[in-house]
């Protein structure tokens, strides 16, 4: 803890509204620091005798900055007890600030600084806004060159071979896929997100599974593929398989999100004679690797079942202790073929391996998990609407 910090913690446990209440009823004087890995500098809120009197967040200050900070929903906070000599700009009452801040957040009027948010700025008229996926702050260690693209310029073309991996330094990119009706936009990605795939570390002649197009002026950082491939090669076979299997899931949920097929009817056919392996909502902590046979990740909806993906040998099934992709066991079930055989994986060893990843590699893994979760959500929302 830094000197003067009298209490600190996780914003997901105690959010800004609750913090302001707590500091208020305590009548404390000092500075609240809000730290988000999606923003370069921490946000600051100054309190005098329990009342917020000024704040800064990026270039904003005063009440505007304070409201903006309600969007920093992931991260840490620290309260430093100190005398404050900043200007007394904010005059609104505590509870007014809290209730108005939360309303602005719920009405979608504040930009959420988190992994996945709704892209309000990039919304096209008459269409629902796409999800926007950001990455954590960039580790420049592995950036070997910068490239610039103009609005509308393609970066990656679906179906072409390529192994480069980029990280977005500035601007936004649209991820699209070829469908019968032309190019369909799937989601937007912003600063800190990666363009590329885990498979490019292992497979020769990897084929791009989606297209990426700049949707404003974009600056990309080309990553040191040699360094990252070398890091990848040091992983255990189990850990490599988990990462490659994530790629496999992302491809399948992407196809699902854009398919115009009758997915529920197909699911009924696919799941005929399959047995339930893990129930949705199960608290089981185990993780398995498929040795033989096939497994299906299945979501139950009021109208029927939906198969997120179909998995085979070397794919994983179960709970990954260090990632959340919005699949089994919390949000989906697992079914298997009669001949399904699986081996339990050592989750402690995998978690340890994960904790030793380089900054860039760890960010990539987290970013791809967010892609899977967001794309799965899109697929679910489409089915729910039908």
């Amino acid at each position: 803890m830094q000197s003067g910090v009298v209490f600190s913690g996780d914003l997901e446990y105690l959010n800004l509204g609750e913090l302001i209440q707590l500091i208020g009823s305590n009548g404390s004087t000092g500075m609240l620091r809000i730290i988000s890995k999606y923003v370069e500098n921490p946000g600051l809120i100054y309190f005098r005798e329990g009342n917020p009197i000024n704040a800064t967040a990026g270039a904003q200050n005063g009440l505007e900055a304070l409201y903006a900070l309600f969007g920093w929903t992931e991260g840490d906070f620290e309260f430093v007890r100190q005398t404050v000599d900043v200007k007394h700009i904010i005059k609104s009452s505590r509870m007014e600030i809290i209730l108005e801040g939360l309303r602005l957040l719920d009405d979608g009027n504040i930009e959420v600084k988190g992994a996945v948010s709704v892209d309000i700025d990039g919304k096209e008229p008459g269409k629902d806004p796409l999800p926007l996926i950001r990455g954590p702050m960039i580790d420049y260690m592995d950036v070997v060159a910068e490239e610039e693209y103009q609005d509308g310029q393609p970066i990656v073309n679906e179906g072409k071979h390529g192994v480069w991996i980029w990280v977005i330094l500035e601007g936004k990119i649209k991820i699209c896929k070829e469908t019968a009706e032309g190019m369909a936009p799937l989601l937007n990605v912003g600063a800190g997100s990666f363009i590329g795939s885990m498979s490019s570390f292992s497979a020769e002649g990897y084929v791009r599974s989606a297209s990426a197009v700049a949707s404003d002026r974009v600056i990309l950082g080309v990553l040191d593929r040699q360094r990252l491939s070398h890091e990848f090669s040091t992983f255990s076979a189990e850990f490599k398989n988990v990462l490659l299997s994530l790629d496999n899931r992302l491809k399948q949920v992407t196809d699902l999100a854009l398919s115009s097929k009758k997915n529920m009817q197909e699911a009924q056919k696919k799941l005929k004679d399959k047995k339930l392996i893990i129930k949705e909502g199960s608290e089981k902590k185990k993780l398995f690797s498929i040795r033989h046979g096939k497994a299906f990740i299945v979501k139950k909806l009021p109208q029927g079942q939906l198969v997120f993906c179909e998995l085979g040998p070397n794919d994983f099934v179960g709970r990954i202790p260090f990632l959340n992709i919005g699949h089994e066991p919390d949000s989906a079930a697992v079914y298997g073929t009669e001949d399904l055989e699986m081996d339990a994986l050592d989750t402690n060893a995998l978690a340890q391996e994960h904790s030793r990843l380089s900054g860039t590699m760890a960010n990539m893994v987290e970013n791809f998990s967010n892609f899977i979760a967001a794309t799965t959500d899109i697929a679910l929302n489409i089915e729910k609407k039908q």
């Binding site: 609750e18 009823s25 009452s93 209730l99 108005e100 939360l102 309303r103």
Partner: protein, 204 residues
């Protein structure tokens, strides 16, 4: 969960008005704010949320005595009904010490009342509160509409719909004229303070 402020020798607790949209939650609070001006501390915060307003102010109950020598300050809130206001609802309901459920007596709102009560139960559960344990009072609002010829439900009917399992105090009300508003709040505050005192005994 009430907050004890040792420095100010004050206990701060929270009473939340819940109920179907346009059923009279805000009317209740507006009436209290006007009619009991002397007991209100500070200004009323009013936030325009879609469909309903969200209100808040501090209230100093009289004649309820002190707890352990501390004054009691009650935060009064209404909660926005729309699903999208999940952050506001969470902040307001989390740690609620007492709840007033304002039901709409109009015939056509029967279903809405029952759904809203179910919704309250579900929301409380998320914050580890049980609707059967939390201090709760019902108010059957808009009784005055009968004289305008608008069909309203009988008290027996509303008791059967809403209070059959809960068996909590229920008051008739007509918040627009202030009828029943004071007794409803009084009853809820009394239950809330009794419950706080019980919790304190356990803590000793």
């Amino acid at each position: 969960m009430a907050v004890f402020n040792i420095n100010k020798r004050e206990i701060e607790c929270k009473i939340v008005y819940y109920g179907p949209g346009r059923g009279g939650k805000t009317t209740n609070l507006e009436y209290i704010f006007k009619a009991y001006k002397k007991q209100v501390k500070g200004e009323m915060v009013s936030i325009d949320t879609e469909g309903d307003r969200t209100l808040f102010f501090d209230f100093l109950p009289m004649d309820l005595g002190k707890i352990k020598g501390c004054d009691v300050r009650v935060q009064l809130f209404t909660v926005p009904g729309q699903v999208q206001y999940s952050s506001t609802r969470k902040l307001v309901l989390k740690g609620a010490d007492g709840i007033v459920f304002v039901a709409d007596s109009m015939d056509i709102r029967r279903e809405k009342n029952m759904l809203s009560l179910k919704d309250l139960q579900k929301n409380l559960k998320e914050y580890n509160l049980s609707i059967f344990k939390v201090p709760l009072v019902l108010q059957y609002n808009k009784r005055d509409l009968a004289k305008d010829g608008i069909p309203i439900m009988s008290i027996e009917q509303m008791d059967k719909d809403l209070n059959r399992q809960l068996k909590v105090p229920a008051f008739e009300g007509s918040a627009l004229n202030g009828d029943g508003v004071g007794p409803t709040l009084q009853a809820c505050m009394r239950l809330t303070l009794q419950s706080l005192q019980k919790q304190l005994k356990w803590a000793e």
